[in-house]
Amino acid sequence: MNAMVETDIRVRGAVETRSERPKLSVKDFKGRVDPDWCPGCGDFGVLAALKQAIADLGLHPHEVMTISGIGCSSNLPGYINAYGMHTLHGRALAVATGAQLANHELKIIATGGDGDGFGIGGNHFLHTMRRNVDLTYIVMDNQIYGLTTGQVSPTSIKGMQTKSTPFGSVENPINPIPLAIAAGATYVARGFTGQQKHLVELIKGGIQHKGFALIDVFSPCVTYNHENSHEFFKQRTQKLEDIGHDPTSFQAAMEKAYMWGDVIPIGLFWKRSDLPALDELEPVLAEGGSLAHRPLGVSPQAAKALISELM
């Protein structure tokens, strides 16, 4: 598995061979500051799993870039030793697409919250999936707006009482899994911070997947969402492996995706490998080498051709 990733990661200049590369551990990915999340926040679990996945895959800090929007969860890039962009609320996927296409040799991991990604960021979410951009998108889905102190989110369950719905929400929530499948994502998974090892594997799978990978993670907010707590998910989540599931079957994926009740499945719902990622389809990248490092300017011949079009 690692071998595959190693060849994927081209360090500019020479491709370092595997033996030369020191293998890093989780602690090498510790960020400049410690998270300021509330004690017990699910996001700690996502951060830990992500660091573990990156270390397991033998990646180095400079080869990875995390890109987030704004929210408690979106603070993640500040807590991991990797390149990072902490962009505007809702815009992580748009920024990530630009960065990925500009330097497709980087491993880009978009991270954020349910509000960031499915609320204000919904349109980028939709279109990034249909384009199958080679990104790993980890949503810390706590079914609430945490940073703004507890309002309803697009994944909040009906009836949820929040500061903006003190008498209970009357809107139907989004279910990100079928939505992602219908929109064209090629790797669609759900994790739970209470299942660390499982989550690490889902993230590794997402990073290794060439194309758009969504990992929607139940990452409970201990402060503002008392309905969908760690306990709530602990009692209900079951691994798809255990239930029995074929992630290449559309029908099975859809069926499992709608399960919500005493059993809430986690794991890889859907994966297809027959669709190339956008960067693989883009002819300008076929020449090889990231755009970001190509020399600037127009050759004299090209300039001549451009001018001759005007004559």
Partner: protein
């Protein structure tokens, strides 16, 4: 203007094929080394309506579409009805008398009817009237038939000998008919021996981007900016530029920011409504200190407004874009050639100062066309990417000590491209410390906040020092200084010639190109010497006049404004200057005579 000053108007409905004869004429002019300016008045529909293309050529540079037409080619009755009344002595009107009837013409207007039925009995389709009219015009301005023959042969090349022969035959008939029946102009269109090209402003902006080394271009279609996207898309593979159409303008600016941060020179273009959606993103680029260039091609607003009409109504929007204060550069190119030249200059500045740059163009400039001397199109421009770590191979890793936002006197901190070993860091739209760690979280710190904010804003001084101050054009001693910004340069300068020639009024021009930061001192020192100052702008509220006052305190003596969607014609300005100098008004709003 030069010895030759010929303006041809071609009008009809959308779908009547106005573009082809227009292009052929333009091509013939510039291949003879004649200068050209062309402006197409059109509507937001695909078929029908009224389209009117003005082509003006001269042996001297053409500054605007001018005030008069020498030739009118009405392709339908509507065009005849709208424009005939504006034709003056010495002009001629060529029309298909089978379908179109002239009204009353002024004295000295030569009415030149031809019958398509007679000249092209067996040919189907409406386009034949265009070929005949084109051939007739060429005859009357003394262009040899073989030139048209060559063009038609090329144009119909793929359709086979028979079609070519048919079209050339019809053209010949029109050419000869005109020779036999109509009085030609008293000159033959000269050939200077030199060859020029022509392009529209959007093409110029795109080519400027290519010259600057843009590697990532993205956009959401929006008139009148889509031409940049179309040029980029056409040349993407040839030039190695990633061109993407995005889901919306918010996606556009953020995608461009992502690409720019990863190391590409990244550009995007839109018009007012799309720019509104980008405004939050522009502020974020400034906060993260990522260089990116965005073009706003203004059209008549507010809201959807008049999508195919020109205006300079976005200045305050562009200046106010996004919350809070942040460093940015705003430039309004003054000519189509300037559109080309400004882009690499701006990229060098934004790379150097790691901030967003905005080019504010308008429909007149972006969809207008102008001749260009190929020698002016220098693609070998200096490229300065500023202080960037990670563009070449030899970087000493700093292993964690790197401070992306180091506080410096210039406000600029060396940036490192993602992927560079040893320079790992996080950029953020939250306020942050020198090392990129947020100071909006956990412990906000007013002193650090103040220092970070001042660091960014200090860039504005460095930028201003590198911008060329505006220069007075024309007579040093003048009765009046006409101040404009961006696209009005040409028409103001033509009005100045007219004022001198026709009215004996000596005027000069101060055209502002670099808007933010503004050379307030230079402008004040120039205008303080002016006897009278009149500000000319293509909007309702005097957006530039108010800005100029806010930065310099200068209160103009008069204003000439237009906000009906059509660009200024020289005489609009001439009339305004006369009225204002005569003390009749302080604000003159011309009425556009031509109903386009």
């Amino acid at each position: 203007m030069g010895k030759i000053d010929l303006a041809i108007g071609i009008g009809g409905a959308a779908g009547q094929g106005i573009a082809t004869p227009g292009d052929i004429l333009a091509r013939i002019f510039v291949r003879r080394g004649l200068h050209l300016s062309a402006y197409n008045a059109y509507q937001s529909i695909i078929r029908g309506g009224h389209i009117f293309l003005t082509l003006r050529t001269s042996d001297e540079p053409v500054l605007s579409m001018g005030d008069k037409l020498d030739v009118l080619l009405p392709l339908n009755q509507d065009t005849m009805d709208r424009h005939l009344r504006l034709m003056g002595a010495g002009s001629l009107v060529l029309y298909n008398s089978d379908k179109i009837k002239p009204g009353a013409a002024a004295a000295g207007v030569q009415l030149c009817p031809f019958s398509v039925k007679e000249l092209a009995l067996n040919i189907k389709g409406d386009l034949v009237q265009n070929t005949i009219a084109l051939a007739a015009v060429l005859r009357l301005i003394g262009v040899e038939f073989k030139i048209l023959e060559e063009i038609l042969t090329l144009q119909f090349g793929r359709k086979g000998e028979a079609v070519i022969a048919e079209n050339v035959g019809v053209a010949r008939a029109g050419y000869d008919y005109a020779g036999a029946h109509f009085k030609p102009f008293p000159f033959s269109l000269p050939d200077t021996g030199k060859k020029l090209g022509f392009f529209e402003g959007n093409q110029a902006l795109a080519m400027g981007g290519a010259a600057a080394g843009v590697r990532f271009y993205c956009a959401y279609p929006m008139s009148p900016s889509s031409g940049v996207l179309h040029w980029m898309a056409r040349h993407a593979r040839q030039l190695g530029i990633m061109v993407r159409q995005v889901e919306d303008e918010i996606g556009v600016i953020n995608m461009a920011i992502g690409a720019a941060h990863a190391g590409c020179r990244a550009m995007c273009a839109t018009s007012g409504g799309g720019f509104a959606l980008m405004s939050e993103g522009l502020g974020s680029a400034a906060m993260m200190e990522i260089p990116v260039v965005c073009i706003d091609v203004q059209r008549a607003g507010p809201a959807t407004g008049v999508p195919t009409k020109t205006e300079q109504g976005d200045l305050w929007q562009v200046m106010g874009a996004g919350q809070g204060d942040y460093p940015r550069i705003i430039v309004a190119p003054t000519t189509i050639l300037d559109c080309f030249k400004i882009v690499p200059q701006l990229f060098n500045l934004v790379d150097k100062f790691q901030c967003p740059g905005i080019i504010i163009s308008d429909l007149l400039l972006s969809e207008g066309r102008s001749s260009v001397d190929p020698a002016e199109l220098d693609f070998h421009v200096p490229i300065d990417r500023g202080e960037v770590i990670g563009l070449d191979g030899d970087i000493a890793p700093v292993n964690g000590g790197y401070q992306r936002y180091k506080i410096t006197e210039s406000g600029v901190s060396p940036r490192a491209l993602p992927g560079t070993p040893g320079y790992v860091h996080v950029v953020a739209t939250d306020e942050h410390d020198e090392d990129g760690v947020l100071i909006s979280d956990e412990f906000t710190d007013p002193h650090k906040r103040q220092a970070a904010h001042e660091k960014r804003m200090r860039k504005m001084e460095g930028i201003l020092a590198l911008l060329e101050p505006p220069k007075l054009f024309g007579a040093g001693q003048a009765e009046v200084t006409l101040v404009g910004w961006g696209s009005t340069e040409g028409v103001i300068r033509e009005a100045i010639e007219k004022l001198a020639e026709e009215e004996g009024i000596i005027a000069n021009n101060l055209e502002i190109k670099w808007l933010v930061p503004l050379h307030a001192d230079a402008i004040t020192s120039i205008l303080s010497k002016s006897k009278k100052v009149i500000i000319v702008e293509n909007n309702y509220s005097g957006q530039f006049a108010r800005y100029l006052r806010s930065e310099t305190g200068i209160v103009a003596d008069g204003h000439i404004r237009k906000y009906d969607g059509e660009p200024f014609m020289p005489h609009h300005i001439v009339d305004g200057v006369k009225k204002i100098l005569a003390g009749e008004t302080e604000k003159y709003v011309p009425v556009h005579e031509i109903m386009v």
